[in-house]
Amino acid sequence: MARVVVDVMLKPEILDPQGQAVQRALPRLGFAGIADVRQGKRFELEVEGPVDDATLAQINTMAETFLANTVIEDFTVRVEEVAHRGEAK
């Protein structure tokens, strides 16, 4: 099994009140020096079979039409190395 990760983020010009709420809480919790926080979504897709160009093209279409709303969100697609069973973490 291979893993493909799709990260979805609100476009930079879109107000992200969730990220702002997190950012505002940071000084109160003792974490200083964070100028801005934006909150996104991460999808981990476990793919059956090889992650070839056709699979990636399909996942791109999926991200563009379903996982992200491209009116308000940007997305990235990447293949992630998955540790083999038995390997040390």
Binding site: I14, P17, A21, N69, I72
Partner: protein, 226 residues
């Protein structure tokens, strides 16, 4: 023959019964439609009701867009069938791109439920013909994902072409850009709004006013006289 107005029930729809009731009180024949059906049962118009279709997982309205019934609704809407999206229904209409823009989490992050004052900016759509342009109405509003957003070019175009159909008055409840509460498509047959006219059709409940009934009588007149 009286007009047949369909109301789609998705898993998670909450206000489908209210919408069916509003249709009946206006004098039309309400027809229940199921999210899995492709067939619209010869209805003359469709209402996409409020609620949390498919749990609003992913994004509000995003999964409903792929419901079998929506293939037919989108196709028919593109050939002129009147469609009204209320709250979650409005979110579904933006996700299908029948209406431009997108809906985001309220800027204050709270679910809001209150009687909302609106201005009817456009009384020329099939769903607003029984109102007067500039008229103020009070209908309930309840949502957490009601912040309407679009890029400046789209917003300018909506304003210039009279497609901003409703605007919030006495305070913007969710940070919606330019106080937009509802919009129409280019042809004017598809209208979406966040507040709930179907909850203001009887004096006994809701706001105590019947300001919402005009939506359902408007469309009925259009269909009967068409």
């Amino acid at each position: 023959m009286t007009a047949r107005i369909g109301v789609v029930t998705f898993p998670g729809s909450l206000d489908d019964r209210d919408a069916l009731r509003a249709v009946r009180l206006a004098g039309a024949e309400p027809v229940s439609l199921w999210h899995r059906d492709k067939d619209l049962r010869q209805v003359d118009a469709v209402v996409l009701p409020g609620g949390f279709s498919y749990g609003d997982y992913l994004r509000a309205g995003a999964i409903s867009r792929f419901a079998p019934v929506m293939d037919t609704v989108v196709e028919q809407a593109r050939s002129g069938m009147p469609v009204l999206g209320i709250c979650n229904g409005f979110q579904v209409l933006t996700e299908t791109h029948l209406l431009p823009g997108a809906m985001l989490r309220n800027n204050h992050l709270h679910f809001i439920c209150r009687d909302q004052k609106l201005r009817v900016e456009n009384a020329g759509t099939v769903w607003t013909a029984d109102y007067a342009a500039g008229q103020d109405i009070h209908i309930p509003l309840k949502n957490i994902d009601g912040r309407y957003t679009a890029d400046d070019r789209t917003l300018d175009e909506l304003e210039a072409t009279g497609r901003v159909v409703f605007r919030y008055l006495d305070g913007n409840p969710n940070g919606s850009l330019r106080d937009i509460a509802g919009i129409a498509n280019e042809a004017g047959n598809v209208v979406g709004l966040m507040p709930h006219p179907e909850h203001a059709v009887e004096p006994l409940v809701g706001t105590g006013r019947t300001d919402g009934l005009g939506f359902f009588t408007s469309i009925l007149k259009r269909l009967v006289h068409a």
